[in-house]
């Protein structure tokens, strides 16, 4: 009879309900519940703090008291499923979409997606940028067979709301929030510059399509075509330059015939 498994099960459930696990006692047994509450408080406090650290803009948008109450609901619905706390919270966007009290704030889910991507970018692998001169020459010489490699932190998000502008407005000293006439879908590029600065940049749809194609392993020429297919203005030289200047291009390879993504 695995008594320890039953014990752990009862203890874990008790953390939520307050019911004491079997056998739990104290020198003054009438104080057992107060003592068990130390664990209940520690677990809740630790997890709420972790969510605060991961979703600071959400907390600023809804206020600390509401955030703490919402965090408790999130913990109940989507408890951590692994030992690394900084990886927890991926379900926050879908949770926010379904959480009735924030139904009037549809952009919260997009802000959560930005904050999740920022956390991933912060911890992404390191890679050195390539020198701009070298790369520009290669790109112009053989655009059909050149594949760019972007920094491991680079992520593109397509948001239903102007999430990038709302996120920026929530930062200390940030710009004013976007006016209602600018309300609409927005794409953002999230990346780490250097060791720790994680930026959120609003991209034109064409630039987003270009970067996404590169991330998918397409050739430079294919990425340019993807950008042009959006029907928006697109300047390949300036798109390449902004990635280079941000230090986000970390290498280039020549696509061999037969490789995935090889132009036909």
């Amino acid at each position: 009879m695995p008594a320890h498994r039953d014990f752990a099960q009862a203890f874990r459930q008790g953390l939520g309900t307050g019911r004491l696990p079997p056998g739990l006692t104290a020198p003054a047994p009438e104080e057992a519940a107060r003592r068990f509450a130390v664990y209940r408080n520690n677990v809740a406090h630790g997890l709420i703090q972790a969510l605060r650290a991961r979703f600071p803009a959400i907390e600023r948008l809804v206020g600390p008291e509401f955030f703490a109450a919402m965090a408790r609901e999130f913990i109940r619905a989507c408890p951590p499923d692994g030992p690394i706390l900084q990886r927890w919270g991926g379900a926050m966007p879908s949770f926010l979409q379904e959480f009735p009290p924030v139904r009037g704030l549809p952009y919260l889910a997009d802000i959560a997606r930005i904050e999740i991507a920022r956390g991933q970018a912060y911890h992404a692998a390191d890679a050195e940028p390539v020198p701009p001169e070298k790369l520009r020459a290669a790109a112009l010489k053989a655009p059909d067979t050149m594949r760019l490699h972007l920094h491991p932190s680079v992520r593109i998000l397509h948001l239903a709301c102007p999430g990038g502008a709302i996120w920026a407005a929530q930062q200390p000293g940030g710009p004013p929030p976007p006016p209602p006439e600018d309300w609409g879908p927005q794409s953002v590029l999230i990346a780490r510059r250097g060791w720790h600065e994680v930026t959120v940049t609003v991209l034109a749809a064409s630039d987003a399509a270009f970067t996404e194609a590169i991330l998918a392993g397409k050739s430079f020429a294919q990425a340019v075509r993807k950008a042009q297919e959006t029907g928006k203005k697109f300047d390949p030289v300036s798109a390449l330059s902004s990635l280079l200047q941000a230090g986000l291009i970390t290498g280039e390879t020549v696509i061999q015939e037969g490789d995935q993504g090889c132009p036909t």
């Binding site: 695995p2 008594a3 320890h4 498994r5 014990f7 752990a8 099960q9 203890f11 874990r12 953390l15 079997p22 056998g23 739990l24 006692t25 104290a26 020198p27 003054a28 104080e31 057992a32 107060r34 003592r35 068990f36 130390v38 664990y39 520690n42 677990v43 630790g46 997890l47 972790a50 408890p79 951590p80 499923d81 692994g82 030992p83 690394i84 706390l85 900084q86 927890w88 912060y122 911890h123 992404a124 692998a125 390191d126 491991p152 932190s153 780490r192 060791w195 720790h196």
Partner: protein, 282 residues
Amino acid sequence: MLPARPGIGFKPEHFPAIVQTRLDLGFLEVHAENYMGAGGLPHRMLTRLRQDHALSVHGVGLSIGGPDPLNEDHLARLRALCDRYQPESFSEHLAWASHGGEWMHDLLPLPYTGETLDIVCDHIDRVQEVLGRRMLLENPASYVLFEQSDIAETAFLAEVVRRTGCGLLLDINNVFVSCVNHRTDPRAYLADFPLEAVAEIHLAGHATEDLPSGPLLIDDHGAPVAEPVWALYAETVSKLGALPSLIEWDNDLPPFEDLMAEAARAGRILDALPQARHARAS
């Protein structure tokens, strides 16, 4: 082996102060789970710190006292971390943190029985096998007791040491917190503790609440080390000789000088020990 000197728990806020000044520090300790990303600033800082300091990696996520098998992915990450930084010490807790795939991210207490002794020993065997090194196990701070416990905590730890060959991390604040909470004598606890296996000491602050039956101490790592804990520390090292001694301060972080003042106080206690005992064989 860590130097038998004071160390501090590393906080990123203190990085500039640590690299810019020549510190009298035996070692730094980090929580393993904070360095499990692929890259970026955490690894950059730890790599830099490692150039100047001995390192203790302290895990909080293995759930050694839990009923489930250890998470092998997590063990592999710990192995990679130890391979990368070659810490002088790896330690974890006599506690559990997960059950049934859910992680509470706290150090939860377990009853001490023949069954849990087998579980803990199996888990420590596995950790030591994967990491290829001896680990240290830390005694917990606790707020409750369990009627089903039929082994004393100190006897439980002694048996774990005997079966697995692991060392112990003696947290003297935890001893004080638990003994005050359970209305027992910390000196009696330490008299029963398998002191010969201790390879590191932890010192930390706690908070106090008043219950009708007396004080309830909370191990919050958010205050200076309490005077009775300093007294127990001095008595312990006077018996055992100098040991690596960590000041843990995780919440309500003080100015760096205040943290270093705590480390310096531990250093003075170690310096006052008779010289002969400094050379204690491990």
